[in-house]
Amino acid sequence: MTFVRAALATAGVLLATGFVRSPAPLPAQEAPAGKATYDRWCAGCHGADGAGGGPGAGTMLPRPRDFTTGRYQIRSTPSGALPTDADILAVILDGMPGTAMPGWRDRFSDGELRDLVAYLKTFSPFFESQPAPETLPIASAPSASEEALGEGRDFYEKIECNKCHGPTGRGNGPSAPTLEDDDDLPVRAADLTENWLFNGGGSVEEIHERLVTGLNGTPMPSFHDLIASEFMTEDQLWNVAHYVRSLAPEEPPRVSEVVRGARVEGELPASVDDEAWEVAERFYVPLVGQVVVEPRWFTPSVDGVWIQALHNGREVALRIVWHDPSRSPDPEWEEWRAKVVAIAEAGGETSDPAAAVSDTSGAAPDTTAPAAVTVAAHPPDALVVQFPRTIPDGMERPFFLMGDDREPVYLWRWENGRDGVEELLARGLARYEPLPGAEAGAVAAEVAYDDGEWRLMLRRPLDAGGVEGRLSFEAGRAIPFAVFAWDGSNGETDTRGSIGSWYFLYLDQPTASTVYVAPILATLLTAALGVVVVVRAQRRARNGAGR
């Protein structure tokens, strides 16, 4: 019996039993268990028909899963196979980090979860027509010795993970700009140094399972056949997983609202890769897509920056490091940029972003058809550090999205390809004006890019030098700052980019540490509130309530 017949039969059964939505409302007792829960919590993104085009889906990338295809990424089953019930359940509970798919642990009862899984399966005829999927047997993990990691690294190159993920896993391999999922939408090769954003979890066991099973519907293939064909052993594939795990930090970065700048005697580091930076403490500042004001941006490239700060009583230096697979403007990424921009600009007009990038009317895939491009040029990468114009005494700070007319903010803006850093005032997102009276070069900048990583050093005298609107840095005070980043090859410019909320820079005083504890504690609360604002705004926008 063929799938088709089974599909038809299934459809028939579904129709007969009312599983498929009929125009007339069904009597409550006939609706399948799970439907009510699904319609309430999931349909907003995944669509009432399960096809992934819910009202909140907007221009989300990756798209909410289309359950009618039966293609699931996070599985314990062979490449191309359906997931087990346990696989689906695990994704519902844990969500898919790094995507819009939230986790739902503690939200539903066991019974509701079971019904939800069963209901998701009714969207695809494959669950009826296919034999029950079987979990691939997996041998237990060998220990992650130095030797094992070395072998893992060798195999990482031998089996050419680097083609997509790049030599050190930053998602910048030569094939990365061209990757598309099964719906012809651009998809990023995961940045393997950020395991806390892996869709299926960041533990070595989870990574290994992804290598064995692949991620259906994406370019990420299964490597299981390499064992069967005796090209490598089970242990060797485990060692690749160990190696990948070792590319990310032991623990996901803790977000601390306060970035401490230690005081050094003598000169500040002379360059962005100066040894002095190696000992300076690093702080992680997460960034999210700008979804607060129109046009919103759901597919940011930069999801966080690492910041270090030092000062010597005369000058302050910041070192900001972030991953970006493209050094924009980067011609290799032009096609990618065009696709992402086309999707963004299709905006609410189509619930099917694929329609924006390709003519999927059934024509043979024509990879050369240029997408409609409306952004004139391929913008450069850029980064902004935002401060208030003066250190606030209380908890009042300017609006975190680059201030407003009442309370402008003071910015350092760096742009790839332009010398130095501009000092600006802003009265709203991307509403820049030059800082009056600022002499060029007052903020020294040095930048390096290699292997998918930007490193930017910014340095300025603590004192404002009498220029109105330019922040004077003071040791021993909580100085609000925020970071914004743009990846030009992702079509990011102006309001489309990554934003962060207010954090605090605290420059150490030469005195004992007790001095700064109190203000920091006081400011922690407001900083946390700032994060909440961003997160809430984002969630609201995603759910479509903000439209």
């Binding site: 019996m1 063929t2 799938f3 088709v4 017949r5 599909a7 038809l8 459809a11 289309d66 009618t68 295809t69 039966g70 293609r71 062979p78 490449s79 191309g80 196979a81 359906l82 695809s124 005829p125 494959f126 296919q130 031998k158 089996i159 050419e160 083609k163 997509c164 030569p174 094939s175 061209t178 990757l179 598309e180 099964d182 692949g214 259906n216 994406t218 370019p219 990420m220 293939p221 299964s222 490597f223 299981h224 056949d225 390499l226 064909s229 090209f231 999927t360 009317s361 059934g362 024509a363 043979a364 895939p365 990879t367 050369t368």
Partner: protein, 285 residues
């Protein structure tokens, strides 16, 4: 279950027909000719018919678009004249890489599955062949003659796809379970690589060579809808009737100005679904 039901219906029909001693017209509607050959080699040598034909092409074939393979010297070296994307391969007024198959007319017959493997090779960062025909459940041997990383990402709608990696010269054997015209194949490492696999439950299919010719042998006598599928110029159908040991001829005419017509992809063709002219509802989009 369903199948034996069908067999019974057929048997009853047949009995009724022979009892009336007529039914010539019904026989023409295709499929009812042989009844006692539900399983097994369906066609006896003394009745086997043949359909041959040619796919003609008029107009200028578009030049292949150049492919930048500089990132992959192993492959670039294999293309002395510079690699190009060849969506249209023509001979002398003929069209190659056309998948030709019996779309309708075989009724409810089933046919043994060939155990002879069909091979697809990755050589010079191209698939060879670019278009291939395979029976459901017939082994598909995927070779990697390049010895560099390819991933074989099949994107069917009716079948379950797979996406497996081949980082070295090696062979992987896979198969498909259901008829589907066509299954796109891609390599995500080399975005330009593309192939199309046509799957049928019966063996009556072919892919044209540069001379445009095809030959479907060993057919039971009957009336058949033959479809031709080309990745750029779409599909065409012809009907042909062949009696025992007869040979029928079919000609398809393609031309350069047909470009841009819709090309059906990943559509299930099920011989057993009588009466449904439409591509049958399939999973997905």
């Amino acid at each position: 279950m369903k199948r034996s039901l069908e067999a019974m219906t057929m048997a009853v029909l047949f009995a009724a027909l022979t009892a009336c001693g007529g039914g010539g017209e019904e026989a023409d509607t295709g499929g009812e000719v042989a009844t006692d050959e539900e399983v097994g080699p369906a066609v006896s040598p003394d009745s086997a018919a043949t359909v041959t034909g040619v796919v003609n092409f008029t107009g200028a074939a578009p030049a292949g678009e150049p492919i930048d393979m500089s990132e992959e010297p192993t492959c670039a070296e294999k293309h002395a004249e510079g690699p190009t994307r060849q969506t249209v391969v023509t001979g002398d007024g003929t069209l190659a890489n056309v998948f030709v198959y019996v779309k309708d007319g075989l009724g409810s017959r089933t046919f043994p599955t060939s155990s002879e493997p069909v091979e697809i090779d990755q050589d010079g960062c191209e698939y060879h062949p670019r278009v291939l025909a395979i029976q459901a459940n017939q082994p598909l041997v995927i070779k990697n003659s390049d010895g560099i990383l390819h991933n074989i990402n099949t994107q069917p709608t009716v079948n379950q796809g797979f996406n497996v990696s081949q980082p070295v010269s090696m062979e992987t054997t896979k198969s498909f379970t259901s008829p589907e015209v066509m299954i796109p194949v891609k390599c995500d490492v080399h975005g330009w690589m593309e192939a199309f696999i046509g799957v049928q439950s019966h063996p009556y299919m072919a892919v044209t060579a540069t001379d445009g010719s095809f030959r479907l042998e060993n057919l039971p006598p009957g009336t058949y809808t033959i479809e031709a599928w080309h990745e750029r110029y779409g599909t065409q159908t012809q009907t042909v009737t062949v009696g025992p040991q007869e040979s029928g001829e079919v000609t398809f005419e393609y031309s350069a100005d047909m470009a841009g017509r819709p090309v059906p992809m990943a559509e299930p063709i099920d011989l057993h679904d009588h009466g449904s002219e439409q591509p049958v509802a399939h999973a997905g989009r």
